[in-house]
Symmetry: D3
Subunit: 135 residues, 6 copies
Amino acid sequence: MVYLTRQEHFNAAHKLFNPKWSKERNEEVFGLCANENWHGHNYDLYVTVKGEPDADTGFLYDVKKLSQLVKQHVIDKLDHKNLNMDVDFMKDKMCSTENLAIAIWQQLAPHLPVEVQLHSIKLYETPRIYVEYFG
Amino acid sequence: MVYLTRQEHFNAAHKLFNPKWSKERNEEVFGLCANENWHGHNYDLYVTVKGEPDADTGFLYDVKKLSQLVKQHVIDKLDHKNLNMDVDFMKDKMCSTENLAIAIWQQLAPHLPVEVQLHSIKLYETPRIYVEYFG
Amino acid sequence: MVYLTRQEHFNAAHKLFNPKWSKERNEEVFGLCANENWHGHNYDLYVTVKGEPDADTGFLYDVKKLSQLVKQHVIDKLDHKNLNMDVDFMKDKMCSTENLAIAIWQQLAPHLPVEVQLHSIKLYETPRIYVEYFG
Amino acid sequence: MVYLTRQEHFNAAHKLFNPKWSKERNEEVFGLCANENWHGHNYDLYVTVKGEPDADTGFLYDVKKLSQLVKQHVIDKLDHKNLNMDVDFMKDKMCSTENLAIAIWQQLAPHLPVEVQLHSIKLYETPRIYVEYFG
Amino acid sequence: MVYLTRQEHFNAAHKLFNPKWSKERNEEVFGLCANENWHGHNYDLYVTVKGEPDADTGFLYDVKKLSQLVKQHVIDKLDHKNLNMDVDFMKDKMCSTENLAIAIWQQLAPHLPVEVQLHSIKLYETPRIYVEYFG
Amino acid sequence: MVYLTRQEHFNAAHKLFNPKWSKERNEEVFGLCANENWHGHNYDLYVTVKGEPDADTGFLYDVKKLSQLVKQHVIDKLDHKNLNMDVDFMKDKMCSTENLAIAIWQQLAPHLPVEVQLHSIKLYETPRIYVEYFG
């Protein structure tokens, strides 16, 4: 079994704000991330799939097709968007990196072909903070 | 003469939207960057100063003091902010990387001590796009 | 379960020198790393914790609090230090990257809150050499 | 148990071309990678070994010796070569990153000393595409 | 005046071989780079233009248009190619990074709009070797 | 004229300590960098030379020869050393990055061949702090 990873990226605005809490409680817990006018990030996304290479191509999966699947089901819905306002699958969720990584897995997994298994989603919010999810 | 550079970073939301134009014209010119609900970036900022090293310290300028000046006059005003809404010195300006780099120069230059000259502001909007301004 | 990683860094001097051996034996085994007057590195440290995201915050753990814990129990004791001379928990140990990674785990693990498990310590000695420890 | 990783690199030419297929079928499947006159990459290779640190050295394994083994059995056979034409252990194989990572494992594993286990081969074809193999 | 830079990349095969010299002389001068069966690189290309930002857009030049121009006149002719065999503007030239950077300038400069000046071409052959050309 | 840059690196210990000052004054000015037991860094060094490419080779200068010159005259004297104690050309100088960059220029410049001019020394002390010197 081999593991194949493709890096993609997207830029988005978000804020961390729990509507069940007061503004003060949100600022206490989330600090600058609670800024009501939003802030944003360049997110780096690493999608890893696993399986057996095909004898005729030497590919586990064509990395260009993997990139297209990620673009169609994930990047096009997140890039240059407001994660809290514009993204249907983040509605009513806290827009933390943790929740976003889980949601990206759920968006992508049903669309991979049967010969390929999704292994992990790794999502950088900044160059020094990232989350991994293995399903 | 030597040149000393310190890298800083900040996260911010913005959009590219000219209020003198229609929504259609904005989308035609700015594409996804015109999303009315904002998007955002991890900005990387490189501040370069120049001058003669001090005989007693070997320093052109104490890089921790440089970092504090940049933090006080630039980062604290931009980090986790909405560039269009929250930043007084970007009011009524297009929030392009070009204009932001020029504005950062104007914010910082008056506060450097006399023995140090500001040489350049280099600002990355994404890892593959950056602007430089030399005053 | 999700995994959250925070990168920190510190600068330190060290040497590789086994006091039970002759100077010649040390130079034979450790080469330039045995230089009696020390050398040093910019160490990059990746701390990974795992657990379930909290429903109210979306956080596995507040990454700023994680950073503060790492700073208090690890970075403040290592940064701008001599690993062989200044660090109580490296006393009488060889200051290899392997031993340093294990020691960092032992320093940090007791201080994490119960809802979070330490998953791994990844320590870069140079950009091309790193050690991982999983407890 | 600790894990020690050393990064190496090599530059090579290759093409993706299945000799059992027509030129048209190759171009359909492999696109630009099927260019008959070859293209090439700067490959980054991460070799990870695992085991127990030695009490006298603090080393799992001397990273300079690891680097020499990788150089002798892998890099010297791949660097500045044509993977399809010049490399005996890639003869009659598709020169995909997947197959190359597996072949590198097979080249290197027999030559590691008994106290060290090969854990993984991680091979970047470009900065945004990599393959991992764990044996 | 501001400076705007866009990074692009391409993968290509090449060799360093002077047809006026013997095989031995080529190997003596160019070493492994003279391998007759080619080798290759992931090239990173930084294109920098300079000028005044536009008052209505805040742009020196639309970076997406810059990227398209570079793609059309440079990347499409070099990516997944053999620099010695497939590229008309490198015919009868030594395929050094120096000559390639100069040739990229000559390809691109005539196609930039009048309000924008080409400032520099910076070309990485490997992560540790690059050439700059300023016209 | 083209500019060719080669990156090299070295690891070293140092401290910032002015022997004309009291320990208290040193700690006030240099903070943690004054630690009497030293600390250290992975230094990254970029050496840039300029000139005209040779017609027969396409090279401004053979980058392997440049690397050897830098190794012989700079890296071998700094790598795995204590900058304050082990390096003759830093004796009686403050070991700041500024002074080290200037000293590297002075070490290297006399040894370059006549057809090549030294253009700049760029020296990273950490990934976020660097100094440039142009002679």
